[in-house]
């Protein structure tokens, strides 16, 4: 298993020091993620799931431990654009059209204009926003902006996609629609996805595996395989297997008996 791991985390600890107080956000995290997996980091707020993702993405450094991405350090993987990142806010550049927002990672990479344009078209096709290439971000709804952010994150063909509560700011209906879109994009691109969320049903619907985390200090409580068959659709959400999985995850998360938690 560790041979096939595209992401491997060994003994990662993260402490924040503010004033004379030291808070341990993550303690002794071990995690392996295989190529092509869709892994959700699930847990209550304060469990360090976002911090862990940010360590993987080299947006912050661990206090202790090692991380390997695609056989490289996170820093090298970042500058090689081995991963793409989607944040909770789309964070599009408001002075650029949708098209030019999607081109940005390629522009950073020094890709020529023609290739950039073609690639951006392809990515906007993927997220089904080709008709909006010339629009500016403020002309788009929140869900559409987030789809542009996904297209942007994928435009440099990364092998890994990091998503930090990307659907957290959306309403329930848009959320479910985008979850479906995301699974389709995942199956089209075969990227490895690491997805941070605090929604149990979201994690169950999307993931091939859920890493459940507990808070204070942030630790991995369990790793749960989600064996519901892909492709998953709106109908999947109403199956007994789905409910059973949600209940299982909830039990691990809260440590409460299933009957009680379901109520």
């Amino acid at each position: 298993m560790s041979e096939a791991a595209i992401i491997s985390v060994r003994g990662v600890t993260k402490q924040f020091t503010g004033g004379n107080r030291t808070v341990t956000a993550l303690e002794d995290i071990d995690l392996s993620i295989r190529r092509g997996e869709f892994v959700s980091l699930l847990g209550p707020s304060g469990c360090g799931k976002s911090t862990l993702l940010r360590i993987l993405a080299d947006l912050t450094e661990p206090t202790d431990g090692t991380v390997s991405l695609n056989g490289k350090t996170p820093g090298a993987a970042r500058t090689d654009r081995d991963y793409g990142m989607v944040f909770q806010q789309a964070g599009l550049f408001e002075w650029r059209t949708v098209q030019r927002n999607v081109e940005l990672p390629l522009q950073v990479a020094g890709v020529d204009k023609q290739t950039r344009r073609a690639k951006a078209h392809e990515m906007l096709d993927l997220v089904r926003l080709s008709d909006f290439a010339r629009h500016f971000p403020w002309q788009l709804s929140g869900g559409m902006q987030q789809r542009v952010a996904i297209a942007r994150a994928l435009s440099a063909d990364p092998e890994i996609l990091f998503m930090d509560e990307p659907l957290g700011a959306l309403d329930e209906m848009n959320r479910e629609r985008l979850q479906g879109e995301l699974l389709r994009i995942w199956s089209d691109t075969r990227t490895t996805v690491v997805f941070v969320t605090h929604s149990i049903s979201e994690a169950v619907f999307l993931s091939s595996r859920i890493v459940v985390m507990s808070a204070r200090p942030g630790r991995i409580a369990a790793s749960i395989d989600v064996d519901l068959p892909y492709p998953r659709t709106a109908a999947t959400r109403t199956t007994d297997a789905f409910f059973a999985k949600v209940t299982e995850v909830r039990t691990v998360l809260h440590g409460v008996p299933a009957e009680q938690a379901a109520r």
Binding site: D58, G91, Q107
Partner: protein, 317 residues
């Protein structure tokens, strides 16, 4: 099923009534209402001018009627209303179309416009030089924090030193260096212009939200790519706010500079001359001030025009 949904249906559902087809319509009506707004603004500006002229003449008429003393008391009007202190609006405007000097066919209006042109050219050069320096300083301060901490108090101090003290020094230095007087005037304009540009640009460069900065980091963008593709575009609205202040300041700087420089040209010089011969023709001084003010407005407004073009796609204007 999700995977087979077409772009149009998902768009219509997500965008709600503001689908693509519907979107063109409100935009056209937006443009119409923009024209109407512009007409309203022009009418408002004209109204303000008319009211000011009316107040001027009304005060003058009142003062003339009661001989500048509040009736029944000994309280004098704060400003005397005789023709020497407050010439009629029409004599000020009339002076513009009369010869500037006896025995010279050139009209006062065209003379003043010519002098204003000289001043605006100095202001423009000063603005360009000053804001270039301001932009450079802002970028430098962003990247070399100790420098900004060390230098900022001095920059603030430079702006609090009275201009009347600085201007002659710059003129003398310029003269010693053999530069023509307008160079010194431009230097003074630039001296006033750089500061607001530095302050505002620095704020603007620091304005991008964390998510945009982290995104740039996530795609491995270097410092200069972050500057060129994120910080500078994000700073533009701030830069323009600074430029507007700088434009006003550079006109003031140029006029004060002219007073110190022995150029004999420029609206500042003309104002000084007319102030000297005030009793011979008070309306000429008022006319000169009027033209200077109008020119300043045009100068700053043309900048606002550039701003509107440069930021036309921004939602938050």
């Amino acid at each position: 099923m999700t995977a087979t949904r077409t772009a149009t249906t998902s768009v219509a559902a997500e965008g709600g009534p503001a689908g693509q087809a519907d979107r063109a319509t409100p935009r056209r009506s937006e443009r119409l209402s923009a024209t109407r707004k512009r007409v309203h603004n022009a009418a408002g500006a004209a109204l303000v001018v008319a009211v000011l002229a009316g107040l001027w003449e009304g005060y003058k008429a009142l003062g003339r009627a009661v001989d500048d003393v509040v009736p029944g008391t000994k309280i004098a009007f704060p400003v005397a209303t005789d023709d020497l202190s407050m010439p009629h609006v029409w004599s000020i405007l009339g002076a513009l179309v009369e010869p500037a000097r006896r025995g010279d066919p050139m009209l006062l209006g065209s003379y003043l416009l010519g002098e204003t042109g000289v001043t605006l050219r100095e202001s423009f050069y000063g603005l360009v030089a000053g804001s270039s320096l301001g932009l450079l300083l802002a970028v430098l301060f962003l990247h070399v924090v100790p420098l900004s901490k060390g230098l900022m108090p001095w920059l603030v101090a430079s702006q609090t030193v009275p201009l009347v003290a600085i201007a002659p020094m710059i003129v003398i230095w310029g003269g010693k260096a053999g530069a023509p007087p307008w160079v010194a005037v431009t230097g003074i304009a630039a001296y006033l212009a750089f500061f607001p540009v530095t302050i505002n640009t620095l704020r603007g460069l620091k304005s991008p939200p964390k998510v945009q900065l982290e995104f740039m980091r996530s795609v491995g963008a270097g410092r200069w790519q972050v500057l060129g593709w994120l910080r500078i575009p994000a700073a533009l609205p701030f830069v323009f706010a600074g430029l507007r202040l700088a434009a006003t300041a550079s006109v003031v700087g140029a006029i004060v500079g002219e007073l110190s420089a022995g150029t004999g040209r420029g609206i500042g010089r003309a104002i000084l001359t007319f102030a000297y011969y005030y009793s011979n023709g008070p309306e000429k001084l008022y006319a000169a001030v009027l033209v200077a003010a109008a020119a300043g407005i045009v100068f700053v407004q043309s900048l606002a025009l550039i701003e509107r073009v440069a930021l036309r796609h921004r939602h938050t204007r």
